[in-house]
């Protein structure tokens, strides 16, 4: 019984939150990896693209709610999501047209493009804050819980609570659908194959029937979709604050690099490694330890790291990977 209690506590406080967070990181890392492998630079503006996309989704959600449209038990934001993706995609295509295209034309070094993306990041960040302000916004509506602590108690009669929030389930399901669609697209469709070909060998792609401008455009559209979905899921799960999305770039890059940057499977695996490390290391294990070792009454919280230091986890993993296996788990490519 004690072991089951420990398991329930672990599921409730570590496995469920880390899985949801991991799915969000994986989607974010996929966007970063896509840009990296096809346009060949690290896009630091990705976090703020997520913020921008989410802000648009929130505005549309408010509009829908004002018109009295809701999605029943599901968050209204899911209806707003496709429109948010469309607006963000236009924003990305515009940014590419105004900013990045010039640097591609002059065949700028990747490091120059990285700096350019930092500039874009600041502009996007400011734009998002103009658009929706700097405050914390909660835009999740609909049914709050799939399993609340009370239903859990009624279902099992267990003292140890377990909750599953709607947003957590939606996050995982949406992420799974998105990833499946992305892999189908890259693996099966002609456009997806063109993108892989372009990523494999740009010189040869130019000597084929592949239109490089179109590959670039499709890449930005996909990135916009991934960023908006990831950002919206993160915002639904936690809450929206423009500045958090600026910070989330670190765990996202850590995920992409741990998995092997440029490798889509790596991005997903990396996302879950980072999320489980972060949640696992900052969780207070006192309760679980108490169940497993009944004689032991720990004085402290048995917490390895204060949650204030959660970004340090990504940092340390990032540094270790870069020292010992710079190509990441799945051998990404290093430009």
């Amino acid at each position: 019984m004690e072991v089951i209690n420990a398991l329930v506590a672990l599921t409730n406080y570590v496995i469920i939150p880390a899985t949801a967070y991991g799915a969000q990181l994986a989607l974010g890392a996929l966007g970063v990896t896509l840009i990296y492998s096809i346009l060949r630079f690290s896009n630091f503006a990705h976090g703020d693209t997520m913020a921008f996309g989410t802000a648009v989704v929130i505005l549309i959600t408010w509009g829908l709610q004002a018109m009295g449209i809701t999605f029943g038990p599901l968050p209204t934001a899911l209806i707003a999501l496709p429109f948010g993706i469309a607006v963000t995609a236009l924003m990305m295509l515009g940014t590419d047209r105004v900013v990045y295209r010039y640097y591609r034309r002059i065949r700028a070094q990747p490091v120059v493009l990285v700096m350019v993306s930092v500039g874009v990041m600041f502009v996007m960040n400011a734009l998002t804050r103009f658009l929706i302000g700097v405050d914390q916004i909660n835009f999740a509506d609909g049914e709050r819980f799939i399993i609340s602590a009370r239903t859990w108690n009624q279902m099992t009669g267990m003292r140890e609570p377990l909750t599953l929030r709607t947003t957590q389930a939606i996050t995982v399901v949406t992420a799974a659908i998105t990833v499946a669609a992305l892999f189908w697209f890259l693996g099966r469709t002609r456009t997806g194959k063109s993108m892989r070909a372009f990523s494999d060998n740009e010189d040869l792609a130019l000597l084929s029937g592949i239109d490089p401008d179109r590959v670039v455009k499709v890449t930005w559209v996909l990135t916009a979709a991934l960023a908006t979905i990831a950002g919206t899921l993160y915002g639904l799960d936690k809450s929206f604050k423009a500045f958090t999305y600026f910070q989330i770039v670190l765990p996202i890059f850590a995920s992409a690099i741990v998995g092997g940057i440029g490798n889509p499977v790596g991005a997903i695996v990396g996302g879950f490694i980072i999320s489980f490390s972060e949640v696992g290391l900052t969780y207070a294990w006192k309760k679980v330890a108490g169940y497993l070792v009944p004689a032991w009454e720990p004085d402290g919280l048995v917490q390895l790291l204060s949650t204030d230091y959660k970004f340090a986890v990504s940092f340390v993993i990032l540094i270790l990977v870069l020292i010992f296996r710079p190509t990441g788990i799945f051998r990404g490519k290093v430009v």
Partner: protein, 286 residues
């Protein structure tokens, strides 16, 4: 016909191609040989649009194609392969071939979702064509293999296959034989001859293997130190003294002669160049 007129290409102070003029006649398999650093590859890259020439002109069937990008030249039917074979390593061999033709409906996001039928029909046709090409190249069994797993020689065959997926007018082959075993080299050679005879492809081939060149190419153009040294049928070229001295001596004659020639060449320095040019003239006349 490709005509190169007075082409000069310098990198900084280094003159890689020095007023070279050559012609590649339609329907020919023209060989381009010369010692390392002779400027063959640079000449190739200028014609293929990788580098812009410092001065000079390249025309194709009378049309000025100087300074066009590789992409634009591809559309005009001027294709090239690379010294180190290029492929899309994560795509299958068949997919590599299917990538080549341009203007496919499946290239747009819209069609991907809303014109599935049209794409399917196009892909089926392309697939059949790719399979024909693989059959021609005798590598049908590799169709599903990831191109990255092929051997160097098989990649060269695949590159040749790429040129067959579109209506190529002229194909530039950069060191097809490099790192390829004898058997496979013969397969490649056969494919080149058949493409030339049956489909009317014009080829320009850079190659160090003189047997290969002698078997395939007519005429052969010899370059040394950025200049065109001689031009003519393979057997004439091999008898040309200047050519032997500049290049073939290191390969065909025995080692002692080769070393002597190298010493002589080193001793004579650049001053010997006009003399070599004279020899070349005589070589052409005979």
């Amino acid at each position: 016909m490709i005509r190169v007129e007075n082409l000069v290409k310098s990198f900084g102070g280094f003159l890689a191609v020095d007023h070279a003029s050559i012609e590649i006649a339609t329907g020919s398999i023209t060989g381009l040989v010369g010692p390392n650093g002779a400027g063959k590859s640079t000449l190739f890259n200028v014609i293929a649009g990788v580098h812009a020439p410092t001065s000079g002109r390249v025309t194709m069937d009378g049309e000025d194609i100087t300074g066009l990008t590789p992409h634009q030249l591809f559309h005009k039917g001027l294709l090239r392969t690379f010294q180190i074979a290029h492929e899309f390593p994560t795509l299958s061999v068949r997919e590599n071939l299917m990538m080549v033709p341009e203007g496919q409906s499946g290239e747009t996001l819209w069609n991907t979702w809303f014109a599935r039928g049209r794409i399917r029909a196009e892909e089926a046709a392309l697939r059949a064509k790719a399979d024909d090409v693989l059959d021609f190249l005798t590598i049908s069994h590799l169709a599903e293999e990831k191109a990255g797993n092929l051997s160097g020689g098989q990649k060269k065959l695949l590159e040749l296959g790429r040129t067959m997926m579109v209506e190529a007018k002229i194909v530039f082959l950069d060191e097809v034989g490099a790192g390829v075993n004898r058997t496979l080299l013969n397969t490649i050679g056969d494919a080149i001859v058949r493409l030339n005879k049956e489909r009317g492809y014009t080829f320009c081939v850079i190659e160090h293997d003189m047997d290969f060149i002698a078997r395939l190419c007519d005429p052969v153009i010899v370059m040394a130190e950025g200049k065109v040294l001689a031009e003519g049928p393979a057997d004439h070229i091999m008898e040309n003294e200047a050519v032997i001295e500049a290049y073939l001596g290191t390969g065909l004659k025995n080692k002692v002669v080769a070393e002597d020639a190298a010493e002589a060449a080193a001793g004579e320095d650049l001053g010997a160049q006009p003399g070599l040019g004279d020899h070349a003239g005589k070589g052409d006349a005979t």
